[in-house]
C-alpha cells in the first residue's frame, strides 16, 4: 500500500479515526508521519486529551462578572492568561489554581464529577488537613454514638475533638 500523503513510499503507519461514528483510515509512510509529528506513538498530532479539555473550557463562567474582562484574567506568578489555558488545557504553575479558581470548579465538576480532594495527604505539608479530616471523622462517630445513646463514648470523642481543635488553632 502506498502512502496517502506523498504517494511515493509504502505506507507503514495505519491510523483509524472515528468521529461521530464516521470512520476514517489513514495510511502513511514514516517520513510523512514524522512531518506530522507522529513518529513516536502516543504523540499523535491528532486528537488528544488536551484538545478535548480546551473544548470543555470554552464554556462561559457560570457567574460572569460584568465588570471583569474575561480574557484579561492572568496568573500573577507565571503570567499565563485564562485564554492561553483554555487553548492548551494545562496550567502554568500551582498558583494558577488560585487565580482561576472561580472558573475552575465547574470544569473540575465536568471532568471528575467532584471538586474536592479526599485522597492521600503529604505527611509534612498536609498536617493541618489531616487533623481537619480526623475531626470530621470523630464528629461523625460522635453523632452515631449519641444516636445509639452511648453518651460515655460520645463524651470521650467530644474531648478528643476539642483537643484537636485547640491544636489546630494553636
Amino acid at each position: 500500500m502506498q502512502c496517502q500523503e506523498c504517494g511515493k513510499r509504502p505506507a507503514t503507519l495505519h491510523f483509524t479515526k472515528i468521529v461521530n461514528g464516521d470512520k476514517a483510515e489513514l495510511h502513511i509512510c514514516e517520513s510523512c508521519a514524522r512531518d506530522k509529528g507522529e513518529l513516536i506513538p502516543g504523540t499523535s498530532a491528532g486528537f488528544s486529551i488536551h484538545n478535548l479539555l480546551s473544548g470543555l473550557l470554552d464554556f462561559e463562567s457560570p457567574n460572569p462578572n460584568p465588570l471583569a474582562k474575561p480574557t484579561a484574567v492572568k496568573c500573577d506568578t507565571c503570567g499565563m492568561t485564562y485564554a492561553q489555558f483554555s487553548k492548551i488545557g494545562r496550567f502554568g504553575c500551582s498558583h494558577c489554581y488560585k487565580q482561576f479558581s472561580d472558573r475552575l470548579d465547574p470544569l473540575l465538576k465536568r471532568v471528575h464529577g467532584n471538586t474536592v480532594h479526599v485522597g492521600k495527604v503529604p505527611k509534612r505539608a498536609g498536617g493541618r488537613l489531616k487533623t481537619k479530616r480526623e475531626i470530621d471523622r470523630l464528629k461523625k462517630e460522635m453523632q452515631g454514638r449519641i444516636e445509639r445513646e452511648d453518651f460515655e463514648t460520645a463524651a470521650q470523642l467530644r474531648d478528643r475533638i476539642r483537643e484537636l481543635e485547640k491544636e489546630m488553632s494553636g
Binding site: 502516543g42 504523540t43 471528575h112 467532584n114
Partner: protein
C-alpha cells in the same frame, strides 16, 4: 557510548509473564504526578528553573534515599540519542512526552525497571510502577512508598481543597493514573468486546491501545485506566479499576473456554496458521505481527502450542517495535528493512523457545 542494559535489552521485569492472571493481563501500572511548590510547571519553567527541579529531584536519589530499590540508574535525557529514547518509550519506561518535548528531562530507574521516575515531564515528578500481571494494588503500594521518600525531601504543591496540583486539571487531586494491560482475543473473536468496552467507559474508566493515549488497540491488547483523579481516594480508584478488570478477565476466560469447547478445531487452525506464518515469513509488517502474535499468545494459554513460552511473546511485543529493531539490526533502516528484520527476529525467537 557504551549502551546500558536498559536500552540494549528488550526484556524488562514487567514482561516476565509470571505475575497473577498473566494469561490475560500483561502488566499493571500506576503513575503518580507531583509538583514542587513555588516553581512553575515544566511547560512554563525557565531553563534555570527546570534545571534546578532536575537537580533537586536527582539529589533525592543521590543521597541514598532510594537505596531500597537496589542499584538505580540516573539518566539525563540529553545523554540519550533519539533512538535510545524511542526504545525507552517502547519499553514503557518513559512517556512519549518526556522523550520528545521535555527540557532538562531525566529518568531514575530501578534495576529491574519496575520503578521509573520521570523528571520534568508534564509535571515535575512522575513516579511509575510497572508490574507483571494483575497487580494494581501492589503497583500502587510501591509507587506510594517512592512518593513518601520524595515528599520527605521536597515540598509538594498541595492544596487542601484540590489536593496535589498538576499541570493538567485531568490529573489534579490524587495525581494517580492506574492501568491494566489486557489481552482479550476471545472477547474480540466472539464479538462481545464492544459491549464490554462501552460498559467500561460508563463507569469512569478509559480504554486505550498498547501505547496509551492516541494509540489504536492492536493485537487485541487493551489498556484500561481510571479517568477520575479528584473526589475519590486512591484506594477507591484502585479498587474500582481492580473490580472492573477482574470482571473483564473472567469474561475473557469464559469466552476462551467456550471457544475451545465449541470450536476447538477452528481456533487450533487459526493459532497454528499464525504460528506457521511467523516461523516461516520473510517480510512481516508490524500490524500483521501483532495480530499473529496475539493468535499465538491465545494458543499458548489454551494449551494448543506447548512449544512456545509466554515470556518470549511479551518480549517480542517490545522487541518488534521500530526502535528496538533499529537498535538490534543497526541504525537507520528503511521500512522494508525493518519488516525483513522483524520477520527474522520473530523466526529466531520462536525457534529458540521450542
Amino acid at each position: 557510548m557504551v549502551k546500558r542494559k536498559f536500552v540494549k535489552q528488550a526484556l524488562s521485569h514487567w514482561m516476565n509473564g509470571a505475575g497473577p492472571d498473566s494469561d490475560v493481563v500483561i502488566s499493571s501500572r500506576v503513575r503518580i504526578a507531583r509538583n514542587i511548590r513555588n516553581l512553575p510547571f515544566p511547560m512554563m519553567a525557565a531553563p534555570d528553573q527546570s534545571l534546578s527541579v532536575m537537580e533537586q529531584l536527582l539529589g533525592v536519589a543521590e543521597n541514598g534515599r532510594l537505596n531500597g530499590l537496589g542499584k538505580i540508574e540516573q539518566v539525563r535525557l540529553i545523554e540519550l540519542t533519539e533512538l535510545e529514547k524511542l526504545v525507552l518509550v517502547e519499553k514503557h519506561l518513559i512517556s512519549p512526552n518526556l522523550a520528545s518535548e521535555s527540557r532538562n528531562g531525566a529518568l531514575i530507574l530501578s534495576p529491574n525497571e519496575e520503578i521509573s521516575v520521570m523528571i520534568n515531564e508534564e509535571d515535575h515528578l512522575r513516579i511509575q510502577c510497572l508490574c507483571s500481571g494483575f497487580q494494581v494494588h501492589e503497583a500502587w503500594d510501591s509507587a506510594s512508598k517512592i512518593d513518601d521518600i520524595f515528599e520527605e525531601q521536597v515540598d509538594y504543591a498541595f492544596d487542601e481543597k484540590h489536593g496535589y496540583l498538576t499541570s493538567c486539571p485531568t490529573n489534579v487531586g490524587t495525581g494517580i493514573r492506574a492501568s491494566v494491560m489486557m489481552h482479550l482475543p476471545a472477547l474480540v473473536m466472539t464479538g462481545q468486546i464492544n459491549r464490554i468496552l462501552s460498559a467500561v467507559t460508563q463507569v469512569g474508566l478509559a480504554v486505550r491501545g498498547l501505547y496509551g493515549e492516541g494509540s489504536e488497540a492492536t493485537g487485541n491488547l487493551f489498556q484500561v485506566s481510571n479517568q477520575i483523579t479528584l473526589g475519590q481516594s486512591e484506594q477507591e480508584i484502585i479498587e474500582n479499576l481492580f473490580q472492573v478488570a477482574r470482571q473483564m478477565i473472567e469474561h475473557e476466560k469464559s469466552a476462551r473456554s467456550k471457544l475451545v469447547t465449541e470450536s476447538r478445531l477452528r481456533v487450533e487452525d487459526r493459532v497454528r496458521r499464525s504460528y506457521g506464518i511467523l516461523t516461516q515469513a520473510v517480510i512481516m509488517d508490524s500490524k500483521e505481527a501483532s495480530q499473529r502474535l496475539s493468535d499465538i499468545r491465545l494458543g499458548v494459554h489454551l494449551g494448543l502450542l506447548p512449544e512456545v513460552n509466554g515470556q518470549a511473546l511479551n518480549e517480542l511485543l517490545v522487541s518488534t517495535q521500530p526502535g528496538f529493531l533499529q537498535m538490534a539490526f543497526g541504525e537507520a533502516m528503511s521500512p522494508e528493512d525493518r519488516d525483513r528484520s522483524r520477520a527474522e527476529l520473530i523466526r529466531s525467537r520462536l525457534a529458540t523457545v521450542s
